[in-house]
């Protein structure tokens, strides 16, 4: 266990104290391209209203198959899943919805799960409490807010296409996350922080990989642009969490800091641990209709 005094570090007050306040101001600016894109999406949605139901069903069936791959592919999130989930989850997807609606609903379900996970994490003393590293706390708060914005954007796109907003978390991963959270009971602060970081990293990576794949699967260019505007943000979350995880594992939580001079003290490996692959993979992507509304 790391002593609390080592976990609590100085953050850059200028950079961090104003983040959440400013976020509200810039949210509208950042969302403007999304709203403009949604206008195009409405047109596309109307034109695709007569989309062949057979094609939708084929999309649904194809992703039922890929669902099995997804559950087996994820590490922590896949380990506690198992094939028993497949039947339950497959029935959740609606073969009547257009493929883009299903993709968007699944994306919203992943975002909902991420919001819930960060919200829970922030109730833990070593993430959101007095013993937490302030940089980690602010990261969790900002990231939770970003996921909420992502969910809103995906659901806005769904509704404008005539679909139902997805307000529930991804059903495939909920029991796994719940189990992981229960597993944090009774652990040390250091173990707990590592557990939360690991879980968050998996969720973020699934989101990033899913959206990378969705840029190909989505039919409308507007939806492609929406996924593209978010996938890199999730990848950045992964990158930060990889770096935090490495520093925690190395027993150097004091280097999780934005204070001037920190970079000079970082070990060499910290310079590359945040981007392990030159090309982002998609083998852990969630099946495109996994979180579709029935």
């Amino acid at each position: 266990m790391f002593p609390h005094e080592e976990v609590t570090m100085t953050a850059d007050p200028r950079a961090l104290a104003e983040l959440l306040e400013e976020s509200q101001d810039t949210h509208a600016d950042a969302m403007r391209p999304t709203h403009e894109a949604l206008d195009e999406l409405v047109d596309l949605g109307h034109s695709s209203a007569s989309e062949d139901a057979t094609a939708n069903r084929a999309f649904h069936e194809e992703h039922q198959r890929s669902l099995r791959t997804s559950i087996g592919g994820a590490t922590l999130l896949g380990a506690a899943g198992g094939a028993a989930l497949v039947g339950v989850l497959a029935s959740a997807a609606s073969a009547a919805s257009s493929s883009d609606v299903q993709i968007l609903q699944t994306a919203a379900s992943i975002e909902n799960l991420a919001v819930a996970t960060y919200k829970t994490a922030l109730t833990l003393p070593y993430i959101g409490g007095s013993s937490a590293n302030p940089v980690v706390t602010k990261f969790a708060q900002v990231t939770m807010g970003q996921h909420a914005q992502h969910a809103d954007a995906f659901n806005a796109a769904v509704k404008q296409l005539g679909g139902k907003a997805q307000t529930q978390p991804d059903p495939a991963f909920v029991p796994v996350v719940n189990k992981a959270v229960k597993g944090l009971s009774g652990v040390t602060d250091a173990q707990g922080a590592l557990g939360v970081v690991g879980l968050a990293m998996e969720l973020e990576n699934i989101a990033a990989e899913t959206y990378v794949k969705d840029t190909v699967l989505a039919k409308s260019s507007t939806n492609k642009a929406l996924f593209a505007s978010i996938m890199g943000i999730e990848a950045q979350h992964v990158s930060v969490l990889l770096a935090v995880q490495a520093l925690l594992k190395a027993g150097a939580p004091q280097l999780i800091s934005l204070a001037p001079g920190t970079a000079a003290a970082l070990p060499a490996a910290a310079g590359s641990v945040g981007f392990p692959n030159a090309f982002y993979k998609t083998n852990s992507a969630a099946p495109a209709n996994q979180g579709a509304v029935k």
Binding site: V212, F275, F279
Partner: protein, 280 residues
């Protein structure tokens, strides 16, 4: 001990663990990432519809894979376009060999024989070449002691990122050669003068990191913008597999600079949606 002094305490004793972790990640990259990339590019070549003959395509695939291997090994040789003496000289002092400094009109790039997705591939390759060139110049300037003290993590960052950009360039050039076109071996003509000017002003690691941040941001936003403009699914897939990696580079650069490690406005406010205002 104050919080500040603790935060700057030199890391010691666990370097081996981090190095081991990095080695595992690197091995994972070569085991998983490269085959996936190669497969994706092969698929892209198939779907581009610009390859005259199947035999040519097969040859091109082999050529691409060989080229990728050479690039990973650090043997890429770039032809810089209009590189400034400082940048060119810095880049020459190292593994990258500057064979030619010539002038290409930005308006004439990409070449007129490249249309659609192939034109995008050419621009992407030129951006990656520029990034490789800039990182190489920065590394060599640092090694020459011109940028002051260089933190180990910053050096590791530059070397690793340069390798990844080299692989990105090789992937796009694999697409071009797979379609029977010439590789793009020049740096992006539109941006090179600006990078030249900016590099000439770099006097320390912070300045270099800020220049790198600009290049990575342009690359990430360009790929992002391309996602909704490309026609080939495989091209979209390749572009989308690179954009998040450039975004990760950005996150770590911000961290090194002591700023919030993510996409942000000019005022430093984190953004939930990455913009495309700096795309080329």
């Amino acid at each position: 001990m104050s919080k500040r002094s603790k935060s700057q305490k030199q890391f010691a004793g666990t370097e081996g663990e981090l190095i081991s972790m990095t080695r595992e990640l690197d091995e994972l990259h070569h085991d998983v990432g490269m085959p996936i990339m190669a497969a994706g590019v092969s698929e892209m070549i198939d779907s581009m519809g610009a390859v005259p003959q199947a035999t040519n395509r097969q040859t091109s695939r082999r050529t691409f894979l060989m080229g990728t291997g050479a690039a990973v090994a650090g043997g890429a040789a770039l032809f810089a376009v209009g590189a400034s003496p400082g940048l060119a000289a810095a880049a020459t002092r190292g593994e990258a060999r500057l064979h030619s400094v010539s002038s290409v009109d930005a308006a004439a790039f990409p070449p007129s024989d490249l249309k659609g997705d192939l034109a995008v591939a050419a621009v992407a390759a030129s951006l990656e070449n520029l990034a490789v060139f800039a990182y190489n110049a920065g590394i060599n300037a640092a090694l020459a002691g011109k940028l002051g003290a260089v933190p180990p993590a910053v050096k590791q960052f530059a070397v690793t990122v340069k390798s990844q950009h080299t692989q990105h360039a090789a992937a796009w050039n694999g697409v071009l050669t797979g379609a029977g076109k010439k590789k793009v071996t020049i740096t992006n003509p539109k941006l090179t003068p600006t990078v030249q000017a900016d590099f000439a002003k770099v006097t320390d690691i912070t300045g270099l990191a800020q220049l790198a941040l600009t290049l990575e941001t342009i690359a990430a936003q360009t790929y992002q913008a391309e996602t909704s403009m490309l026609k080939s699914s495989a091209a979209i897939g390749l572009s989308s597999s690179i954009q998040p990696v450039e975004m990760q580079h950005i996150a770590i650069l911000y961290y090194v600079l002591g700023e919030y490690p993510g996409a942000q406005s000019s005022a430093g406010t984190p953004l939930a949606f990455n913009p495309t205002s700096q795309a080329v």
